[in-house]
């Protein structure tokens, strides 16, 4: 029983992290059809910010690093994506791929290609014992923060005027502009939110691994892609659900695959993605507005 609960906590914690990552991608896709490869480099920027800021009072350090990531996301929008905003989705995808590669190599130029270690988040490393179940504080904080962020995001998107404008832009961008939605502003808000999510997710990633490298964000962004595809491109609800589902699948594969096959876990996860794309090309929760119109 304890084992089962422990696995459940693991799965929820991994799932919460994946959901955060996926939301950051899905949000921008909803607004401007952008699948942002460079999202992983936002995580990386957050990680290096923590390295550079080491020694500061921990909570302040986390806030400053998140602020840096948000600013980086806004700059990304202004410098890289604004010039290609009207291009088709594939061009945007290729642009973000080039940007991601650019930032990785800038990081190599500045910090070198070897990982930098950091003690950020080590304060959360201790485990606590709740009725026989050993849980790390990091997992608990992660679950709480991710839960709060997801709820806040849902409230903003569903209840506020800004959220309504964002949803309108996601539904039909040109129409939304015609009735007075400020495109620049909505997209900037989308990038800022995406940056916020990346900053938080990046912090937890650093706390788990204890080091940052130029390719720090690559595997995380792959996970986020999977979750957004499986969830139905652009669907926020789908992204969150798929993030959690992936967390469970990952832990399940880890536990259930024969020992010899565990190193291939990621191959199995990606095979599930391919299969999903073939069987349900629109994802688990299709965006009705995106159905092909002829």
């Amino acid at each position: 029983m304890e084992d089962a609960i422990q696995l459940l906590v693991d799965a929820v914690s991994v799932g919460a992290q994946y959901a955060l990552l996926a939301l950051g991608i899905a949000l921008l896709f909803g607004i401007m059809n952008l699948i942002n490869f460079a999202y992983g480099e936002l995580l990386m920027i957050g990680g290096y910010a923590l390295v550079v800021l080491a020694g500061m009072w921990a909570p302040l350090m986390v806030l400053v690093s998140i602020a840096i990531v948000v600013v980086a996301a806004l700059l990304m929008d202004r410098i890289a994506f604004k010039p290609v905003r009207r291009a088709d989705a594939t061009t945007l995808l290729v642009t973000s791929f080039a940007l991601s590669y650019l930032l990785q190599n800038v990081a190599i130029m500045i910090f070198g290609s070897l990982p930098e270690t950091t003690g950020a988040g080590s304060g959360l490393a201790r485990s606590i014992d709740i009725a026989g179940v050993v849980v790390s504080r990091l997992d608990l904080v992660l679950i709480a923060v991710a839960g709060a962020l997801i709820v806040a995001l849902v409230l903003i998107v569903k209840r506020t005027a800004l959220g309504i404008q964002m949803r309108a832009a996601a539904e039909d961008f040109e129409m939304a502009r015609l009735i007075g939605v400020n495109a620049d502003r909505i997209i900037a808000v989308g990038f800022a939110m995406s940056g916020l999510l990346a900053g938080v997710a990046g912090y937890f990633l650093v706390a788990q691994t204890g080091s940052v490298s130029p390719t720090f964000g690559v595997s995380a962004v792959l996970i986020a892609f999977i979750a957004t595809i499986v969830g139905g491109l652009g669907s926020l609800r789908g992204a969150v659900l798929a993030g959690f589902a992936l967390g469970f699948i990952t832990i399940a594969f880890q536990e259930l695959l024969p020992a010899g096959l565990v190193p291939y876990r990621d191959a199995f996860v990606f095979a599930v993605v391919l299969l999903t794309l073939v069987l349900r090309p629109q994802g688990l929760i299709p965006q009705t507005a995106r159905a092909a119109r002829v």
Partner: protein
């Protein structure tokens, strides 16, 4: 369909000239040009899918990996296999194929992998397809890293015969140019390019878009797999990271810079980036800033995407102009007519 002067001829001539010039250069420059020509094969293979169908792919380097590993393991001399590949299954440890046959076998293996994926591309298109190819790249990479009996994992393949000389690479590049030029002007190629511009209209005119795209994936898988095998026999030793994101980026950048919608673009883009790399590597060494070359390539690619999305060639093919045919000259594909300043 009016006959066109094939663009394969001038492109093959360019390859020959490049090889001739490189032949008179120093050994290390020759090696760089050889690498460039092998990469040209990969880019042409990539073009035969991305350019012809308009479906973007991040996964073709996965086919190159399959080709390289299969061609490599089949060509390693039996005497070295006992030493380096002790865990190989019995029948494989006694096989030593001629390097050329091994490359063809590698191409076939990549073609089989592509055939397994082909049905998927009959169903998904656009962004989902691009992301599916990415999933494929990751799957191949993870398997190459972990299936150590065959691939030696991160320790890397060793002992692959180095058969790819300057002229071997040049001949392959010419073969690729000719094959893909014939293919893109064939009935199937024209249907696919029609579907690239408007798949609904092409479908309404009887093109079976899904089936054709699946077929295009298989052909491009074969080609890129072959190029991968040739690349493996150029390197002699390689690990899974050789066939992952760096090569994916480099080949995509070559295609985008040259022009994604023309075979000429694939050839020109590869040459431009190969020569730029020569110059940038020197600068990088002088300034002691590793990563500089990649940063410049990424900026160049970005500039092309913003200022001239159809690349240096603008989607046009290089053709020999035969005077009496000028009257019937075909208009270039619509993509070529998008002018940078009309996209405000």
């Amino acid at each position: 369909m009016p006959r066109q002067a094939p663009s394969a001829l001038p492109l093959a001539a360019i390859v020959v000239v490049v090889a001739l010039v490189a032949g008179s250069l120093s050994r290390s420059s020759q090696l760089d040009v050889t690498t460039g020509l092998v990469q040209m094969c990969i880019v042409i293979g990539l073009y035969s899918f991305v350019g012809v169908t308009g479906v973007f792919s991040f996964g073709h380097i996965g086919f190159a990996a399959v080709g390289a590993y299969v061609a490599g393991v089949l060509a390693v001399p039996v005497t070295q296999k006992e030493l380096l590949y002790a865990e190989l299954p019995g029948w494989l440890s006694n096989v030593e194929l001629d390097p050329l046959v091994a490359v063809l076998a590698g191409a076939l293996a990549a073609g089989v992998v592509a055939a397994l994926l082909a049905p998927a591309f009959g169903r998904v298109s656009g962004l989902s397809a691009a992301l599916a190819t990415f999933a494929m790249l990751v799957i191949v990479y993870v398997i190459a890293r972990n299936y150590e009996p065959l691939t030696r994992g991160t320790k890397g393949m060793l002992g692959v015969p180095r058969e790819t000389t300057l002229w071997v690479a040049a001949v392959w590049a010419i073969v690729f140019v000719v094959v893909v030029d014939l293919y893109q002007n064939s009935r199937i190629g024209l249907q696919l390019r029609a579907a690239r511009e408007d798949d609904v209209a092409a479908g309404a005119m009887g093109a079976r878009v899904g089936v054709l795209r699946g077929g295009a994936l298989i052909l491009s898988g074969l080609l890129v797999g072959l190029a991968g095998g040739v690349y493996g026999q150029l390197l002699g030793s390689f690990n899974p990271d050789v066939f992952y994101l760096d090569l994916t980026f480099l080949t995509l950048a070559m295609l985008v810079v040259g022009g994604i919608n023309s075979l000429t673009g694939a050839v020109i883009g590869t040459l431009v980036l190969t020569f730029l790399a020569q110059w940038l590597r020197d600068l990088e060494g002088a300034l002691d800033r590793p990563g500089l070359t990649e940063v410049c390539f990424a900026i160049l690619m970005f500039a092309i995407l913003v200022l001239r999305p159809s690349g240096i060639t603008g989607g046009r093919e290089l053709r020999l102009r035969l005077p009496r045919r000028r009257r019937r000259q075909e208009t270039p594909p619509p993509v070529a007519e998008v002018r940078p300043n009309s996209r405000t």
